[in-house]
Symmetry: C2
Subunit: 405 residues, 2 copies
Amino acid sequence: MKRPLSFTIEKRLESSLARAGVISTPHGDLKTPVFIAVATKATTKGLGSFMYEDMGIQGIIANAYHLYLNPGEKTVERAGGVGKFMAWEGPTMTDSGGFQVFSLGEGLGKKVSKISIEEKPRESGVAVFDEEVATSHGKLAVVDEEGVTFTSHVDGSLHRFTPERSMEIQHGLGADIIFAFDECTSPTADYQYQKEAMDRTHRWAKRSLAAHRHNIDANAKQAIYGIVQGGRFEDLRLESARTLADMDFDGYGIGGSFSKQDILGILDKVNRALPEEKPRHLLGIGEPEDIFIGVEAGIDTFDCVLPTRNGRNGTVYTHAGKIIIENAAFTEDQGPIDEQCDCFVCKRYSRSYIQHLFRSKEMLGGILASAHNMRFLTRLTENIRASILDGSFQSFKQEFLARYK
Amino acid sequence: MKRPLSFTIEKRLESSLARAGVISTPHGDLKTPVFIAVATKATTKGLGSFMYEDMGIQGIIANAYHLYLNPGEKTVERAGGVGKFMAWEGPTMTDSGGFQVFSLGEGLGKKVSKISIEEKPRESGVAVFDEEVATSHGKLAVVDEEGVTFTSHVDGSLHRFTPERSMEIQHGLGADIIFAFDECTSPTADYQYQKEAMDRTHRWAKRSLAAHRHNIDANAKQAIYGIVQGGRFEDLRLESARTLADMDFDGYGIGGSFSKQDILGILDKVNRALPEEKPRHLLGIGEPEDIFIGVEAGIDTFDCVLPTRNGRNGTVYTHAGKIIIENAAFTEDQGPIDEQCDCFVCKRYSRSYIQHLFRSKEMLGGILASAHNMRFLTRLTENIRASILDGSFQSFKQEFLARYK
């Protein structure tokens, strides 16, 4: 069977799992390690695909949960898939919606009613879905063996995802790389529940894979990644990696954790348990220092909302660390955000001007800061890749981190 | 004396005052008739100068009131002037702040306390400035013979503009074309008050001109336009045009009215009273049908916030008239906003996608709609100019307006 995705490792380091390679998709190559732009609702916040080339963006990751709710996967499918819909010709991924169902449904934050699976009585570890409870309590997510019933964060309407339904949605969205449907547990969940959830995620992974392979048309055009779960417990993470490694996935996502501390420390071990020849994606982690950790632990692709979220808040990356652009020190600063940056923002605009935009509450401020931050991260992974290829990774890393506070 | 602005009329129509020409400034040419982008706070809302070339933007108009409040004209001056500050190399204008002092101070809308000059006792037609009244009543603008005292719309702090101060600010901002400081009257002001205000505006025009010519450095680099006032009264408008025509301005702005109906009907007569060889700018009017009226009445340059304000609201221009992009009819519409448009938005994005962005409250929706609208208007004036030059203006106008509903 000819797979829609191929991964060639060009160079491996001996001192760590770091490697440089090329992931080839039907819509072009991802030269790894690479930072992928988040485009949750088929747009990177504040940044259009018309700006991607200038920002060195090689690929994007959209979200099945959000695009299922709006505009619906059928609309995206009729437009020719998520890439065509958003006018982006390069490689695309979609996350399965698992994280969003649980994070937006059950709620990480304070705005959400706490009718969570852990607070409800369970029979043999599985919450029993009770429609009356679900509809009467606003936002929630109730898991059962078959799938998850949840209320939309948009209008509170009731929806249900199963692994099969997530595949159907992701086939409609048509991204080059899709993800198995997984259960994201709460960071406070105890060991017993994490184990139950992980085992269920593995059964869902199998069903996701079967549903995907069964759709011959999608199978020929779209690659599927499994997602390693297990929360903050090392033995569960390793068990998850080994279990998924035995399944016929095209690559692997590591994620679903709500805290990066849960995963960065054991990432190296997790990746050693995964097949070496398949690409690995680290979901939702993207601070510069964490990217180095990820690369050395064998991660090939990254995505994270931080560059645009920070950008909208006026926090921008420089080689000397992050700065708050509204700081009075920059009022008369005619220099670019970062002297070393090659982005169109730094080529054109001063710190003084960008501060003025933020202080005047002009949306261009967030746009420019987001664009710069995005380029900062794509360039960081470009430079990491180059340093792996030419053998200078260790010195590049040391020099970068010595300056970056 | 070598002036910083020259205006060459390339062609005049016989059937109306319409004409095509070139305004040459120290930062390049404006090929007229032309629609100028509003950049009130040194940014067009949602659109960066890095996109201007794609949108066919030839020049921008920033605002002395807003830039005086934030970041202050000294900061802009130290950056090298408003063009350099916002990274725009082409021609720039600044409005004097008169309109904003009165519209944001005295208040067009409902949010503003109605302590207006017309409701205060006046001695011989001039409001006496009373600091106690001013500071105790929040937003207001109090006019006297010397100038206007007003509260900032940002923080309520007390400020004062005079013609001399407006010139000083505009010299700091350093635009190629600056405007005399004028009083904008309320649309409900009676004839007597309009006359008083107009006479005062003429005295202010003289003082603005003197202050400008006195600054030899600015005078050599910046052109100054007088502003025709007189509210909705034809005789006052004509008197204003004739009075200003006798002064040594480099060009003229027609404006200060809060209702376009006040001015469009008498524009032709007003412009006939102005010197034919000097350029004329119509302030704040930009609907396609009004641009035709303006061009035929002899207007050379236009500016208006409508393309971006409409864009942010999801109202977009097409050759068949304006459409609301969130309309259900466009949910599956894979075509561009306007089939005939050459903008980067129409080349790339579908109505379906842009609707999705608006429904999802993604800021990219407003950005793309604003960019398209801006190009629609710059292209309209490009086409009007071409039709004047090749003698097809009447048929172009008839065909355009027959389709545009």
